[in-house]
Symmetry: D2
Subunit: 347 residues, 4 copies
């Protein structure tokens, strides 16, 4: 819907109409007393987006009526759960993803994997390639970590979630990963989104640090357009002026807001938002109560010596008690943690 300026000339109105029609849409003109409003009608987003009409003379404002995404909208896909290695995520199936921030060694990873398995979690997480702000910090074990994760998967039966930072890592990662994680800093790495979309492996798409909900869903749309609709959205906190109280501002309102417009499951990462161990539990419980479809948390046998993000890792030996607390809210929400043996799925 294009609102013309009060003093737009007839020629300017005609130029807008012509441009709409040239793009293959239909124009519906409504000349009011003070302003003229022109609707561009067509149900093809590509066509509407191509208009890019804001530069035209006499245009006051363009008000989009259609959501700019389609495949990931609830209108289009409904809100069916996503299936991952025989486990469902979404609906009543609560997804608990846990594991070390980073794969540091075989022992640390397998020990943590055993703990994660024992509490009935849904999947095991662990980073092989780590995006770090500074080139001087530990960047992950890389391919060696993938081998360790494969062993952990074999040993526990848990599906693996691990991050890809670069298109050249995809080939190796998909051999091990059941879910490819795309980090906050790569939410608008569009070529990576496309390539990951082509793999057919499920994706956990973290929200960018300053991305609007709409931009987040548009990034999911990039993946879906390549034919891959098994996407888990992951809220991990946004950047605001508050820097002392916690690490990132967990945007709890985004959980129900995004679920209203998109049928994709929304997972919350309270570890990164908290940045401090004591805040993870209340943030996790709040996320479940807000309607999140799952949690992804960091667990470490010895957080004091962790090579990355130790202060926000949960103690492995206290993890069962932590999960029990979260489970009380999961119960109230009428959900069950989708761990244990895979359910039979007709995918």
């Amino acid at each position: 819907m294009i609102v013309m300026k009060g003093d737009a000339t007839e020629q300017q109105v005609a130029a807008v109409i012509e441009r709409i029609e040239r793009a293959g849409a239909r124009a519906h003109v409504s000349a009011g007393e003070f302003v003229t409003v022109i609707g561009a009608i067509g149900d093809d987003r590509e066509l509407i987006a191509a208009l890019d009409i804001e530069g035209e003379g006499g245009v006051e404002r363009v008000v989009p009526i259609l959501k700019p995404y389609k495949l990931v909208s609830k209108d289009f896909r409904g809100d069916a759960p996503v299936e991952i290695a025989g486990r469902l995520v979404g609906g009543d199936n609560f997804c608990l993803i846990a594991g070390p921030c980073t794969v540091e060694s075989r022992a640390q990873t397998l020990d943590t994997a055993d703990v994660v398995k024992s509490v009935g979690a849904t999947m095991l997480r662990g980073g092989a390639f780590k995006p770090r702000s500074s080139p001087y910090t530990f960047q992950g074990l890389g391919r060696e970590a993938l081998t360790i994760l494969a062993e952990a998967r074999e040993r526990t039966g848990l599906p693996i979630v691990t991050e890809v930072m670069d298109v050249r890592q995809i080939e190796d990662v998909v051999e091990v990963a059941d879910v490819i994680q795309l980090g906050a800093r790569n939410m608008q790495n569009f070529d990576l989104l496309k390539e990951v979309g082509r793999t057919g492996t499920a994706v956990l798409l973290k929200r960018g640090m300053s991305a609007t909900c709409e931009e987040w869903l548009l990034s999911a749309e990039y993946i879906a357009r390549e034919g891959n609709e098994r996407i888990l959205l992951c809220e991990r906190g946004i950047r605001t002026f508050e820097t002392g109280a916690y690490r990132s501002t967990l945007d709890i309102g985004a959980v129900p807001a995004v679920k209203q417009v998109s049928g994709l499951p929304v997972i919350v990462d309270p570890s990164h938002a908290a940045g401090k161990r004591d805040l993870i539990l209340p943030m996790a419980m709040a996320s479940v109560a807000a309607g999140a479809d799952g949690l992804i948390v960091e667990v470490h046998p010895s957080p004091e010596t962790a090579l990355c993000d130790g202060p926000q890792a949960l103690y492995a030996d206290k993890f069962a008690a932590w999960v029990a607390d979260v489970k009380r809210i999961v119960d109230v929400m009428g959900k069950v943690i989708a761990g244990g043996e895979p359910v039979a799925v007709n995918a």
Copy 2:
């Protein structure tokens, strides 16, 4: 703690020390290989704050070690509940404050008050003086509204929460109010904080739209310094780049973060954060699960015709069902809604 620049001269170090001592504190110098660090020691915040030493030559950075607030810190006051008209807020006592955004008429207010009473809420809210961004919008009924609120209080026995915007309104408001609300826009109206602190009436202090948690607590300290420590902190959403998904970004992490350092109860206002009716319930449930000590929500018999903030008002006739949903989380948290008859308190 003052970190000197690497190239600070001896004279500059001496000047800083002299200044610390002149202010009545003691200086503790630690000359390292690369930098010299000077501690200013004293347990009087007034004294330390007076130093304001950042402008001194050779000073790289001042790192405060003591929290800048004292009376509202958990270290000082513990986390005892706050008593209001015989009801406790904090600890296991969950506080549910409900009522119209604005007192529009006697009938609308009394009808709403009856509903609020019937669901067992703790207090009745209602605005007489409304802070509005535009001078062209409805600004509240003023003193007439106070009379209506007094009648609602008489009728239901519920304590009244109502806002003060100006020191000249205090005298009238304290006759009716059990809790004076200070709005987000007035969080740093320091003269108002002081005057309200002198009344002895309890205060609900909303967090400013872009206030850090520390600034919020410093504003509470202004009130406490006047001898009034019956303060409820109220998180109502902060301003971020996200504008489409909801009205304000509910800062759920601030709830446990503030409760860790301050013993004051924290109430959440999900209505203003949501801005849309459908988002209020998930935000409210999340707040309870995050450890909030209470909620303040807007209820209206006919939100479509409300003079202010209709889209974020709950329907009065559906409010009992809404409260039942929230109560499921309140139960899990081991709390009870502190409504009904006042408990006996030895205040």
Copy 3:
């Protein structure tokens, strides 16, 4: 302009129309293929604002066409300069306001006033009442400072700019001040805006730390509605995630953006935005180049010992050189610093 939801019923459309007409406006309905758009037509902002129609059933979105402010818009008032004590601010008249952050003593203030006078500045600033985040920091000398400012005014002939924080200070302040400063924290202290508007004394209205440009202008509208249109807008930096590089993010784009829609002069305060002495000059020069109508800066004879904001005060003995640098950009912009003797004005 009200955009109805795609599935809005005829009854819902009729309800919206009835509501518009009940408010005294006219409704113009445009039923499109996908959505129905209803225009509410009337040129009275009060009337339109009163609609508050977003809560109505079936309403997708309300798109305001009219700016919500009127008296401070360029359409209404043009861009005539503002006259203050015989000096013009705006147009080609560049306004340089300088002086201490806070009046600390008679000597400090008069010495600074002499320096400010000697460089040909337009006005003298100095704080009597200081808004401070912490109750433990220096809060200003209060009425004693006003007496000192009156002496400085007598001595130098410079008009005085000083802040009011509370309605009860107005009576004393207007006896001394040629311009009442309203601080960032009070930008939405609506009762204070109204009272200051009633004084007839000119106003310097600082932008709130997280206020949009539209909210800033709405606050100016509050003042103008009381009959006082001698308003200087003051950009002083906004709060963002960046905290290390400077004190506040100077929103340089707001200067031309606000000047496009409002005819009021825009002054910039680079001292508060910089927070560090070295950054004040480049920020000041940038402000002039962006089209600002003036600057307000802090000058102190001995910043190291200042009781408030020393690190962002310019050295009094280097101020003439500082002004000379700024003046090179003022010259390029075709403006002159409106200092010296007052020009004859037919106000």
Copy 4:
């Protein structure tokens, strides 16, 4: 510098010391009355970064003293200009980069290139690969655009600036580009930073939408560590709560703040910050006055029909007048636009 908690035990202090020494640094303990402070001394950032000591028991806070970047700091590299195709950027050499947002056709690009050449600009910009929030918008002509840019370079002699979004595009792009642009969304695409760093081609590194200045410099450090120190930093506006007045908040204070700590030239992109044609000139002039080393702007022969960002493109036929206005501030700053024939450089 590690500040221990007031109640840290001797064992905790010892554990921190051991950890520092294990990493190869030296520990300097300063036990004060209230807190113990431990300095970790070493001049190797890799070593210090590896400490990651915040998770240790008893640690209150870690205060970094050393800047986390080195190669891009002014201390290390000084502030020598960067040489690009025989032109210097930095110092007195002002860099004007202009051209279309996107290469749309041969005619549009060559026409624009001629205009850019005629005004004496330093380099030609033009996008072949476009990062777009929506998958439904025009994504650039890709390799075809590179061929057109090569022709424009041949024809005008102007060095080419064009964006790389994916490591797989680098090989083709470096054949044409004199400067590889890294967009805001890729500022923390660390693998791309490294690969681009290895090419030896100069880099224009845009600041991320919500990146702190320190993170921006750390990203530059990633490039420099691969041996490529010909880096131009580009400020293009950050994301804040203000959305109506302009497109992004131009962070003018970042220009001098970054130049104080890093010797790299800082270029400003006023087109993206403004988002509206009328605001580009004041933002550009402000940038020059703030000390920017250059500008990058979008120019189009017919912005109304541009496929991307038309509203923020300058008219090609008015570009000479626009440059003349900017040049008045460039002159005041004592700089010259480094266009025309390449200067002889002993690089």
